[in-house]
Symmetry: C6
Subunit: 255 residues, 6 copies
């Protein structure tokens, strides 16, 4: 497990929520490390991790479970919530704001003092142990549908806002994930910071650490650093040719 | 059962509706204590409580019941309404305005002089005993869909408007639910009041008692009080960074 | 059966339609007595009453019947129309304008000279006897969906417009349904009239007799009359706090 | 069978289309006699009549047929088109413009030189005999949905526009369907004409012969003629109280 | 098979596409002869013809085939595409632009160099022989839905624009399909041309050869020529009474 | 396999992504060679190719697999993703932006460091070998639906923008795919370039290499070159008669 690089007490906040049994909501842009934090903390707290990503069709049966036909018999299949409760896991519901509204209602008894789920189809109550934790995430800057979390759901969580790494920390990540040397790693990390700060590119979402890692990987394979940044960063961030060209020129100035 | 702290005769109004067999509609914002009142009254009136939360997909079969396949046989499964009628319970239909319109039609015979439900699928009439009570709730300040209760449904209820607790009463709640001392409890309760009164934050919904309880719980666990309020209150109330920052500054002035 | 208090020949018009086998359409606001008239006339004409309330999902199978699986066998289950035809009942289709359009088409042969329904699923023709009557209702001042009755359906009916009772008649109703004394009954009936006449409250729908009956019932149970009117009338008619307060002040002037 | 009163060669046009095997489309307002013409011609041509009314959910399977489960076996059930073809009937598809588009496609081979339907589910071709005729109708002044007939469908038909009867002919109809005397029959027929000609009432659709027949029936039963016209005509034509009152005053001047 | 009357090399273009195995797209208004051309060419090239008309609900399973339950067994039923491929037929997909988008995707491998379809449900690859040809049609002047052909689909075809016949050629068609004499046939053909050229009638789609054939057929049966044109042409082209009357006057001037 | 003609390192970029196990996204207009590149690289890298084209109804089960009923038994059928993983193939998901959102979520674990898919229906984890590669494509200049790739999906890819061939290279393609001589091949390639550069035709999408190949094929069959270009290019690019005529004149000037 790659270590999580803290920027503002993310680890201790996560631990306190785990201990006080409060559900935690991670807010932040694509690729800022939300998933990494949860994976790291599951490792640190020695809990299994059950992860599910929501989309606009995700409904409560997808999360709780359903009866399926198997070899002619009807058998119950736990969904991720039931699996997590039975295994005292950390349950990570990614992009929760995308899910259908019945998901929100379904998790209510799990996210207040009751800490339980009633599976009406099997007439079973699943109680969360002290080792279970509910973590959800969403990206406030981007919602694909018109859905939004209702306050009655959101106010059940403690919320932690996350953001991109600093240049210094991002450089370290690049050096760990690929074996490029420090000077080029620093240039790429600095390029990421510059693109994020710039308001000239009208980007729907800006460059994530993931894109910088991709560029570093291509460079390590022997690709020309500028070309690597062009196809791993510029072409990914926009489909508008003039913006892509502007990004490429910007890259050429930095790399 | 934690005691319900009355602000305007909620308990006696609830009891009179129970005695005169009138359905009761609780109106009020998220976290003002609607669920707590119902739980407390079920305890006080010594009735079981059947609770169901509605969402935009909730239909009449979800509430009345349906046939399900179980071990190859078709068996009837009571929904919450049928369960409540058979057990002389208090039935609490939370966020009723969200439900599909056929729910409204289905409850009509239960909410007028007939006080009965006809389950056409089992050809059974369920009559409410004198011990059965119908309670519904909704939040007038927030509707996730464009649905609204039809007057022909709403006029079947007696309506009780609820609001947040006073500072003094909310302080008591905080001290009961966590063991923080009175001075910090009072500061947090006062902070809640101030945020509710302020019109500077453009909040979609304001701070509920639940958020103050979360903050108190984090503080009790040893977290810095300001940080606790930041993540339990400010980050939960808004995703707009400038509003979150304004809330944090506001918190820092009070705590 | 509580007697129906006529205001404009409702009873004789109903009887003439019954005798001349014309379908009758009742038009009027929520709570003006449409259901009561039908119940009273079924009693008076000594016919069973089959009632069904429509919503935006009601389709022709809901009214005609459908095959269901019962103990492994497929059995036909009559819907309300078929039940009414077989029992020479008065069929009352409430809020007909809400139903799906296939309902309108399905009732066409029942509402013209043919007076019959063809159940294609059982290949059966059900003929209406001279004792069968079709009554429908809708509220012209409120349609929850964008649906409206097509002229080709509406012109099959004789239409009877209904309205609220006079103060004197409503007072009698209040005294019959609860045992409050005449002076308070008159005040409540007069309050109803005043709210209906006022144009100051911007109400989506105004006070029905039902609400006045609720208030009377609460008063009879010993509740303060003003509080009874506040929660049975003012809080039910609006969710806008300033309108609710205006209604309460208006109530306090009258009661 | 009540005789059809021709106004512009409807009978001979119908007969010519029957002989030349051209499908016929009847266009005209609600209640102008489209259904009556088809019923009369089926009688005159000694053909059985298969009638189906379309709504916005009517699809090709509703018209062609489908497999149904009956006593555990899967059996094919002819729809109205198949029934009509097998029995050399006149097929009358009422309000065809309302049906789903796949209906239009399904009838194409039946309405051109092929005059046949392919039932792909039973792999059967049904050929129309010389005795089969396809008649459809729609009301150009009213479409409940946004659907319209595609030109590629409409141009398969010969079209016959129909309109209301003259005063003299409508008077005869009223005298035949009820035994009221000529003077009142004439007044009612004249009232119909006047309402149709008037542009003062902003009616969505104007008075059909059916409404005049209803009024005559109520009068025959002993109802006051003005009241009969009020409830059979004025209350049916509009739900706007001021228009209804204007219609009633207009009726009182004529009757 | 009635001969196809060429106006601009339709036959040789069709033959070249057949020989070079390019899919052909026929574009043109209702009734201009698209279907006739395909039927004629199937005859001329001695290939069977498989025709399918699309509507807005047509999906890929409708065209490829599906499993159906037959006498308790699950059997595969070829759709029109599979039938055409197995029989080396000309496949004619009429009004292709109306079909659902998955149809477009499904035909991609059939309309490029692969010339094959993969039936995933039966795990079978159907290869087109040299005798197979794919022809599609649509009417650019009329789309009932908002659908349009994607360029990635359309650029797979060679496109042939078709238009109405000349007066001389249309006259010949009328004389062949009915036995009216040349002078009236010419008048009707000329009437068709004049209506098509006129911009006074605001027609959604103009007169097709089919309508002229209908009029000729009615005249042959002894109907008055003007009446025949009124009901076969004017009443079919428009439902607007003033436009219909203008068309009738126009007809009366010509016939 | 026809050789792929590189314009900007497409082959080496593809190979580097294959080696560094990064998913590749091809962006470019219809017919610019995206599919050809993938087919060529599968051939060159000696990997099987699994291709799937998405449309607006494509969901995750279409790609992962589903249980189907086969001869009365329920059997699992791999979808293209599962097939590709089991056979160490290159998986090519064409027009990925069209697919439903659950497809995006489903491919997440396959496109990050995990490189695996969890088939919950069979409770099986499929791991990608080093030989597996994920390639997707979309056309930024054309989206049939309102869908767009979410940044959280798009940032998983390295992106390669592709464009049309140069005149010289396109001429070579035309000469290879048909045996027309160089002068006419050059004219056609030059015509393609001119149409692409022109802004006079208001085309939704411009001429692809495919259309030029079609024209060359028709010419090779003996068709007049201008007519070949008219029906293979002009009539395909637009349905607007004036634009088609302008294109034909433009063609006549060049050919």
């Amino acid at each position: 497990m790659q270590e999580f690089i803290e920027t503002k007490s993310e680890i201790s906040i996560f631990e306190t929520c785990f201990q006080t049994k409060l559900p935690l909501l991670l807010k932040g842009p694509t690729g800022c490390g939300k998933s990494h934090l949860v994976e790291y903390m599951a490792h640190k707290l020695k809990r299994p991790l059950v992860k599910v990503s929501c989309n606009e069709d995700t409904n409560s049966a997808d999360l709780l479970g359903r009866f399926i036909i198997k070899n002619g018999d009807t058998v119950w299949q736990d969904g991720p919530i039931a699996r997590a409760l039975r295994s005292d896991a950390i349950l990570y519901v990614d992009e929760i704001a995308e899910a259908r509204e019945d998901v929100m209602v379904a998790i209510h008894p799990l996210t207040d003092f009751r800490r339980e789920i009633y599976l009406d189809k099997t007439n079973e109550v699943l109680k969360a142990s002290a080792q279970f934790m509910f973590v959800a995430s969403f990206n406030p800057g981007y919602q694909s549908s018109l859905r939004e979390m209702k306050p009655s759901t959101k106010q059940r969580f403690v919320a932690l806002a996350m953001d991109y790494l600093s240049v210094e920390k991002e450089k370290e990540v690049l050096m760990k994930t690929s074996s490029i040397d420090e000077s080029i790693a620093k240039k790429i990390a600095f390029l990421g910071k510059k693109i994020r700060e710039s308001e000239n590119f009208s980007l729907r979402e800006t460059v994530s650490t993931r894109l910088l890692v991709h560029a570093a990987g291509l460079i390590q394979s022997g690709m020309n650093p500028r070309l690597a940044c062009h196809i791993a960063i510029a072409e990914v961030l926009s489909d508008d040719r003039s913006i892509v060209e502007a990004l490429k020129e910007f890259i050429n100035l930095q790399i």
